[in-house]
Every structure is written in structure tokens, then in C-alpha cells.
Symmetry: C2
Subunit: 254 residues, 2 copies
């Protein structure tokens, strides 16, 4: 397939590389910042453009992988008579954002966190697919199945819930790592000391349900330990509040 990538960030980069790796041709990379477009275009052997007006109108698929609040704007600049499928890659943007503008459209949402510094095996990333109709779904499924082993149909509401779940399991979890790092630093201890624990905690739920492997003072109602922990955090009311409220939730769990 011939693909136009709109965007040059982490998602566009990982998608582009996976597409090229699967034998597709990335024709163009668009970014408002030409330097960014050029950098990715070069890696994908594509042309770089910084104006949507110069877009190739004969491609099979247009992947809009820009920030959520720019998706509609980019879509509005695309010619309405496009024959190809227009998709975005966002978790929390309804498919209907494209409804009045294109005939064939959809969403391909990769459930993963991307960073420039770390490569990921794209084939292991679950891809949520939604399409304007069954034929478009079949086309999108064929394309994404060549990139990932886990492609599944997903409505806009389901995708939103998936994104919310991802915020808890990834963004908020990473914040708890940061909180732990702060506490250690304050007591002159290295973050290295809990890295094995963090990895083990994640690995444990790879083949267990999180509730079945819950540990810690709150779940076993060890109030004496909880009191000691709250006493340690007493000079940081926001942290002790977070500790108390998460412990309350855990006490309620069992």
C-alpha cells in the first residue's frame, strides 16, 4: 500500500517504520515543521512536505498521527475527494470527527506508550481498529494485521475506556514511580534499589489478574505499618493524603 503519514512524532515514527518493515511504501511525511518531516521522511525513504496542499491524492491510506487537538484541523485541510482511507491514531477521539469530510475513514489506535529513545517490537502491540463501514474495516484489518499480531475491532466508546485504562496503568503508574523516587532521594537512597521490584510487579500481572496478586499493608489491614508510613510522610500532606486514599481503596477491595 501507498501511505501518507501526517505527523512526525513518536506514533508517526513507530507506525512509519513498521509499515516500511512490512513492505508498504510511505510516500510522504507531513509536518508543519519541515525539519521534523524531513528527518522522518529520510528514515522512511519518503518525501517531506510542510503544507497539506502538496499532498499526494492517490495514496491508499492517510494516517493522521498528530496531537489530538490538531487532528480535526489537519483533516479539514485534506482534500475532500480523497479516494484513500483517512485514519487517526488517537485513543480518545471519536471516529465521527471524520464523518462529514471523507467517504472512507477510521481509526487505528496502538495501545502502547512510545518514546524516541526506546525501540518496541511493533508486532506485540495491540491495535484497536474502527472503520466507517465493513469494507473499510477489512482493508484496515488487512493492513494492521501485517504489522501486529493483535488487531481487534473497537468502538469509539470502548477505545475511550481503553485510553482511560491506559492512563491508570501507564501514566499514573509512572507517576507513582516518580513519587517513590522522590521519597528515596529524600532519604539518600538510589532509585536503583526499587527497580527490580517495579519490574517484578509488572511481570507478575503478565499471567495473573492484578487483584489476585495484590500485596502490601493496606490489603492485609496492617494498620500499625500504615500508621508508621503516614508518620514518615507527615511533612508532605499531599503525599500522605494520596497514601491514605489509595490505602482506603485497597481496604475496600477485600
Amino acid at each position: 500500500m501507498n501511505v501518507v503519514l501526517l505527523g512526525s512524532g513518536n506514533v508517526a515514527t513507530h507506525f512509519g517504520k513498521a509499515l516500511v518493515g512490512a513492505g508498504h511504501r510511505v510516500v510522504q511525511v507531513f509536518s508543519r515543521n519541515l525539519a521534523h518531516a524531513s528527518l522522518l521522511a529520510e528514515a522512511l525513504n519518503a518525501d517531506a512536505i510542510d503544507h497539506v496542499s502538496g499532498i499526494d491524492t492517490k495514496s491508499d491510506i492517510y494516517i493522521i498521527a498528530v496531537k489530538d487537538d490538531a487532528i480535526e484541523e489537519v483533516a479539514l485541510q485534506l482534500p475532500a475527494f480523497l479516494k484513500g482511507i483517512v485514519v487517526h491514531t488517537a485513543g480518545s477521539m471519536d471516529i465521527h470527527v471524520f464523518a462529514t469530510r471523507f467517504q472512507k475513514y477510521g481509526v487505528v489506535y496502538p495501545v502502547q506508550t512510545f518514546s524516541k529513545s526506546k525501540t518496541i517490537d511493533f508486532s506485540t502491540i495491540p491495535i484497536a481498529v474502527e472503520a466507517s463501514d465493513d469494507r473499510v474495516y477489512t482493508e484496515l484489518e488487512a493492513l494492521t494485521s501485517g504489522l501486529s499480531q493483535c488487531v481487534f475491532p473497537c468502538s469509539s466508546v470502548q477505545r475511550l475506556s481503553l485510553h482511560v485504562a491506559a492512563v491508570f496503568a501507564c501514566n499514573f503508574t509512572n507517576h507513582l514511580y516518580a513519587v517513590a523516587s522522590d521519597i528515596l532521594q529524600r532519604h539518600h537512597l538510589a532509585f536503583d534499589l526499587i527497580r527490580p521490584l517495579i519490574l517484578e510487579t509488572a511481570e507478575k500481572v503478565m499471567d495473573h489478574e492484578p487483584r489476585d496478586v495484590q500485596t502490601g499493608p493496606a490489603i492485609r489491614r496492617d494498620e500499625s505499618t500504615i500508621r508508621k508510613h503516614l508518620a514518615l510522610l507527615v511533612s508532605e500532606p499531599d503525599l500522605s493524603e494520596l497514601y491514605a486514599s489509595l490505602s482506603d481503596r485497597l481496604r475496600g477491595d477485600k
Copy 2:
């Protein structure tokens, strides 16, 4: 060294196996429940006892790996004239719990979460060591260095802070996994869909500081997405409150 293990839970089990693997001899396993003591004793080629009165008084070290609120009770039952070192393995119990009772005492706290169903390479587990004096420290360091590559001195206050950090990075993190699992289930989506994300989130901080790799709507002040997420959670006030308060913390981070 000859070792007596007091306790038969996860920590006692993992310690016992590591000790035997390193060539030490576990003489006895104590548990108030003889069946539990026997099960572990058999695995370690040791004797099982269910009364502290029958304890071998000539061992080199007594490892008390019982629940926090039972440590003092078990210690009080041990003969006061013991020549060996008495240690506990708890994160939040001060070393002074042993001060009036024994001459040589200390703490060996493994910074890891243990479960019966999953084996762990003990050599990668950081072990916090505290001792009643320098000579005892040297003995405990010699023993634990044979089990783990990462043994470090750690005061009782530091150990408490390490335990609090571990609660955030492990227990609370696992709870967020459970919250994510609930959200997915409610929308008929499998937890499998975010397992790669959970693993990647943990792996990312193995060689990065958590704050440097923070992602998500809150850190980039994507208020439109946050509103959609809160709307999805509107029927669950406690969850939307948790979402809002963690997002507030993240907004404050940058």
C-alpha cells in the same frame, strides 16, 4: 552457617531456598502451624518445629520472617542467651525491637515482592542490612553477599522510607492495574490488551528516571482529553476523583 528460620511464608521460603543454594544449612523451620513448617522444612532438608521452646540454641543466625505484628512476640519467646545473630526481614520495624533482648541482632530486608507461584532470581534482589554493631554488620554482610549482588547498609528510618517507596511503586501500582482491569471489563475488553503497555511502562524506568519519561494527557495539559475521561468515569465518583487528583499532581509536576 547454620540457620534457623522462624516463619514459613513467602519471605521465609525465598530466603531459605537462597541460603541452601548458597551452601548454608537450614537447621530448623519454625511455624505455629506445623504443617506449614513441615512443608518448607522438607524442601530445605531441615527439621520442623511448632514451639519456640524446641529451638536449636547453637545456630549462627535466627531469621524471623513472620508478619510484622508477630515479630516481637516470636522474639520474646527466643532464649535471651542466644549466641547467634537474631534478625528480622521487615521494612517498617525498627531494629530496636530486639535491643533489650539480644546481644547480636539486626535486620536483613529484601526489597522485593514475593509470591508462592513465581520464582525470583534472589541474586538480583537488593538487601538492606542494619546491625547492632559493626562486627555484626560484617557478619550479616558476608552472609547476604553470598545470596545477592546488591547488599547495602540502611538505617531503620531509611528502611522505613524504602518500604513506603515500595508501597507506592508496587502495592499502589498493582492497585492501578486492578482499576484499569475493572474499567476494561466494564467495556467488554480484555486485560490482555494493556499487558504490553504495563510491561513497557516498567521497562522504560529501568534505565530512565520516571519523571523524564512521563507521558499522558495531564502532563501535556490536554484538558479536552481529560474532560472526556472524566465524563466516561462520571458514574463512578471515587474513580473520577482518583483520576482528577492524580492528574492534578501531574499538572503540578511540570
